[in-house]
């Protein structure tokens, strides 16, 4: 009788590897989840409010009602993700008990711990975490994250922060690769990342887990831009269901991620999608309204 091993790092990263080249969409109802699945989403993120509404309505943003999450899990056959507050390991225990497929320890919700993230090694369910730079990404991986995404600036429809974070992470990796071996000790100290992971990234020339873009992606062109910069796939939050024609826009973004290097197809799928989400320039947001600074 051979042993079945569950919850290993290989199967945690393995699911993220199956999501590559795909689009993960925020949904707030089972109906939206169906629309996302029908449009070709590889997974959905089950939420009570999309980031644009969290931003507008204010207040404390927490894990969603388990009943809503379960209804969304029943509605679709694709993986379902859900968010917990940074450091709120009991919300994570609850989501694991519900059987969600991936947990996003997310800066979009109000942090529960201003010093510590969740020890994600303690869970069988895999975690994705946001990062603005290589040090932050590697700290999350050290804590057990099996997937990384850029933070971007959620709920704005402005891609500028996602670009900044992707360029920062990927640029730091390129810089690391050109360093002499004796230079990585100081580099690891400077970016606040474990030396062993820094060494691994230098050898691999990329993050040791799957790396998606998130935060402000609103059009097929935004999605293809992030793919051409070198990420493995895309999260779209408010960008779909805050637009005029969600099913059409969702399907167009899915096609744009597959054909991210084919400008003719990108032109074709970008036609006649109706109004994108209204959006908000990140530059106009006061410092305290920016979510990307949450997490340590």
């Amino acid at each position: 009788m051979s042993e079945y091993i569950t919850g290993s790092f290989k199967v945690k990263v393995g699911l993220a590897q199956m999501l590559k080249g795909g689009v993960i969409m925020d949904v707030v109802t089972p109906e939206q989840a169906k629309i996302a699945e029908d449009a070709g989403a590889v997974a959905v993120m089950a939420l009570e409010r999309v980031p644009a509404d969290i931003r507008k309505q204010g207040g404390v943003a927490r894990m969603s009602d388990p009943e809503l999450i379960l209804k969304i899990m029943d509605a679709v056959s694709i993986p379902v993700m859900a968010k917990v507050r940074i450091g709120h390991f009991v919300e994570a225990q609850i989501l694991e008990a519900l059987g969600v497929d991936y947990i996003d320890e997310s800066e979009v919700l109000t942090p529960a711990d201003e010093e510590h993230h969740i020890d994600k090694h303690n869970f069988k369910v895999p975690f994705v975490c946001g990062a603005r730079n290589l040090g932050e990404a590697l700290r999350r991986i050290a804590e057990g994250a099996a997937m990384i995404r850029t933070k971007g600036e959620a709920g704005t429809g402005d891609v500028v922060e996602a670009v900044r974070h992707a360029r920062t992470v990927l640029g730091e990796i390129r810089r690391l690769q050109s360093m002499a071996d004796e230079e990585i000790y100081t580099f690891a100290k400077e970016i606040g990342a474990p030396l062993a992971l820094v060494r691994e990234v230098k050898e691999l020339g990329r993050l040791p887990v799957v790396n998606f873009a998130a935060g402000g992606i609103a059009t097929p062109a935004d999605a293809a831009l992030m793919m051409q910069l070198g990420v493995d796939g895309i999260f779209v939050g408010s960008g779909i269901f805050k637009s005029e024609d969600p099913p059409k826009r969702a399907a167009a973004i899915v096609k744009a991620v597959t054909h991210f290097n084919d400008a003719e197809i990108l032109a074709e799928v970008s036609k006649g999608l109706g109004e994108p989400m209204r959006g908000q320039q990140v530059e106009d947001l006061p410092e305290e309204a920016r979510l990307a600074g949450r997490g340590w």
């Binding site: 042993e3 290989k10 393995g14 080249g21 795909g22 056959s77 694709i78 059987g99 990329r206």
Partner: protein
């Protein structure tokens, strides 16, 4: 720290041994991981996103991913009929979502190639927390690795089961309890698990053997 297998290409890919080129359907999923395995074996690889990309290929791998996504994209870009025609003449191997795509019935309405006489049940083991690794015997791998006695380390990610296998399709591998996880029908191959998430090249060499690659049994 363990890292995700096959995210990284081999340092210096050996040059292709001949004109033999294998395609990997690159609509969505773990196509890169398959490409890394093929390059490690010295095989030339082409990503397939549009029907014209199939021209001249000796075989095709349909990777893991989300079968609904892959199916919808295949329909949107006119790939269903070209893939069916390709599979009547050439080797195709589907892993996980790819196996579902090759089947003739997945118990729900989604685009399928219907090339193999198998039916599948999607997410048969449950959700992600039930995803697992297990060692399984695959006697057919002896064809390409006669001296290798090891079981195959099978990685199941929200995996399907192959429910029925009807001739000319045959069972290739099962779990201890007899549940079917791999099947073959002539030059068509379906696995519910992901050899592309391991370092073991035996399944890839077995597929290349079906595709007519003369060096498949080379060490």
């Amino acid at each position: 720290m363990n890292h995700a297998p096959n995210l990284i290409p081999p340092e210096k890919a050996p040059p292709p041994r001949d004109e033999f080129t294998v395609g990997v359907l690159a609509l969505q999923g773990s196509f890169w991981e398959h490409e890394v395995m093929l390059r490690r074996l010295g095989v030339a690889v082409r990503e397939v996103r549009l029907p014209a990309d199939l021209n001249g290929l000796a075989g095709l791998i349909i990777p893991g991913g989300e079968s609904t996504t892959i199916g919808k994209l295949a329909v949107a870009f006119g790939l269903l009929e070209p893939l069916r025609a390709f599979g009547r003449e050439h080797a195709i191997w589907g892993t996980c979502a790819g196996a579902i795509f090759l089947s003739r019935d997945a118990r729900r309405s989604q685009p399928l190639l219907g090339l193999m006489n198998i039916t599948v049940e999607r997410n048969a083991f449950g959700r992600q927390i039930a995803s697992f690794e297990a060692d399984i015997p695959v006697p057919a791998l002896k064809t390409v690795a006669p001296a290798d006695e090891r079981p195959f380390r099978a990685v199941f990610i929200r995996a399907p089961l192959i429910e029925t296998v009807t001739p000319p399709a045959e069972v290739l591998a099962t779990l201890d309890d007899g549940r079917i996880v791999a099947a073959q029908q002539g030059h068509l191959l379906a696995t519910a698990f992901h050899p592309e998430l391991t370092d073991d090249t035996r399944f890839h060499r077995y597929f290349l053997h079906l595709a007519g690659w003369s060096a498949a049994a080379a060490p």
